[in-house]
Amino acid sequence: MRLDLSILLPHLGFLAQGALLTAEACVLALVGSVIMGAFVAIARTSSSAALRRIAFVYVDIFRNVPFIVQLFFFYYGLPEIGLYIDAFTTGVIALSIAGGAYASDIIRAGILAIDQGIIEAAEVSGLSRRVIFTRIVLPIALRTSVRPLGSVLINMILTSSILSTITLNELTGSAQIVVSQTYRPFEVYVVLLVVYAALTYLVSLAIAILHRRLNRDMMEAVA
């Protein structure tokens, strides 16, 4: 039994590239999730019963089907209907749709938590519903949603490892290649484990800082 972490050194650059791909995919998918989540949240709170139903079904399905199945559905299915998209884009789309299901609940809660009086003040000033939503409701809801959306991002970073199954050389995929070259699976995967954990820890720190900065203006000043 020999444990030798130094064999990883020449491959660090390659792994770093994989990490970068993971980061890119997750950031894009986060944006996609928030957009998706915002639309679905609006649908969930809309006055149309049909829209509410569709939104509910979407959230229900994508929270109760394993991500790998969702991914395969898009990766193998889309070419069948003529859409030839590369693995990276397919991965981002799949992550966005899955993430959107969770984001919508968060954003919806954020919207419902807004003081009615503020909306009323906006209404009587003559602001249109569209402006009220984009300039007042969404900005406030997103500020209060930073922490839970941060959890969605962290979850997404972990889930992105599954993208390695559709030949994407993100962090896990790159690690698999390094294993095939060094024949040292234990060292590689242990390091990989720690890297992911460290990554999510850093992100959670960043989220805490972001939450404080965004909400600093809205928090009561200590007299």
Binding site: E123, S125, G126, L127, S128, V131, P139, D217
Partner: protein
């Protein structure tokens, strides 16, 4: 002119407004008095369209607030100041005041900001334009609320118990501003508990009791023994307010 005709409003089984008739002419300062539950705030919320009527009609300069298309025009002509300020927490004081002029009146940003700063100066908050609502005291927030309403250059200013959430010192500073506005000829419709204040600056006083309009008289006559005070409910109410 704001015309309130036979307005009825109920929340579920409870009737809150039971056939109110009221007219406000430009330039008038009218106060609405009455105990809690008499329907005062509801009346204001019907005039600015936050509540839908169950009967009757309200028109602001001939625009019917009951008709969605006309409501937008009616709202342009009135400005509301709220008891709980309702400032936008994520925007600066300047942002709060300039949002509607830019989005609704389509004013250029520079012009809107200039108007806003002038308004802030007139209420003594010229230096706080970049502050956030959370950093201001209650009295300061309400002054911003007044500026926000005035920035839209409304014909009629609706004020819903705007000092009820303030301590005596802040109440005084806000009332001073309102007195100045009244002097300058702004049309105002107050819902208030400040009887003395109402007496000092109003042209007319309206008394609501249990959803009915009992008295609608010029100020002096309202407080006269053979005028408003002849109504038992009015006398009862005023003596209670004096005790507090």
């Amino acid at each position: 002119m704001i015309k309130v005709e036979n307005v009825k409003k109920a929340f579920g089984q409870t009737t809150v407004l039971d056939g109110i008739d009221l007219t406000i002419e430009p330039g008038e300062v009218v106060s609405i008095l009455g105990s809690s539950g008499s329907g005062k705030s509801t009346l204001i919320r019907c005039i600015n369209g936050l509540e839908k009527l169950n009967g009757g009609q309200i028109t602001v300069d001939e625009f019917d607030v009951g008709k969605p298309r006309e409501l937008a025009e009616a709202r342009k002509r009135s400005g509301t100041v709220f008891q709980l300020f309702n400032l936008y927490p994520h925007m600066t004081v300047l942002g709060n005041i300039t949002l509607a002029p830019i989005e609704v009146l389509k004013k250029p940003r520079a012009e809107a900001e200039a108007t806003a700063l002038a308004l802030l100066e007139s209420v003594g908050l010229g230096s706080r334009a970049d502050a956030y609502p959370a950093q201001l005291s209650g009295g300061q927030r309400q002054r911003v609320g007044i500026c926000r309403a005035l920035a839209m250059q409304p014909r009629y200013l609706l004020l819903d118990e705007v000092t009820s959430a303030l301590d005596p010192e802040m109440t005084a500073e806000v009332l001073a501003i309102l007195a100045k506005l009244a002097q300058e000829g702004t049309t105002m419709l107050f819902v208030t508990h400040e009887v003395e204040f109402a007496r000092q600056i109003s042209d007319r006083i309206v008394f609501l009791d249990k959803g009915r309009l009992l008295v609608d008289l010029p100020t002096q006559e309202f407080f006269a023994a053979d005028g408003g005070m002849a109504q038992p409910r009015v006398a009862q109410f005023l003596s209670k307010m004096r005790k507090d």
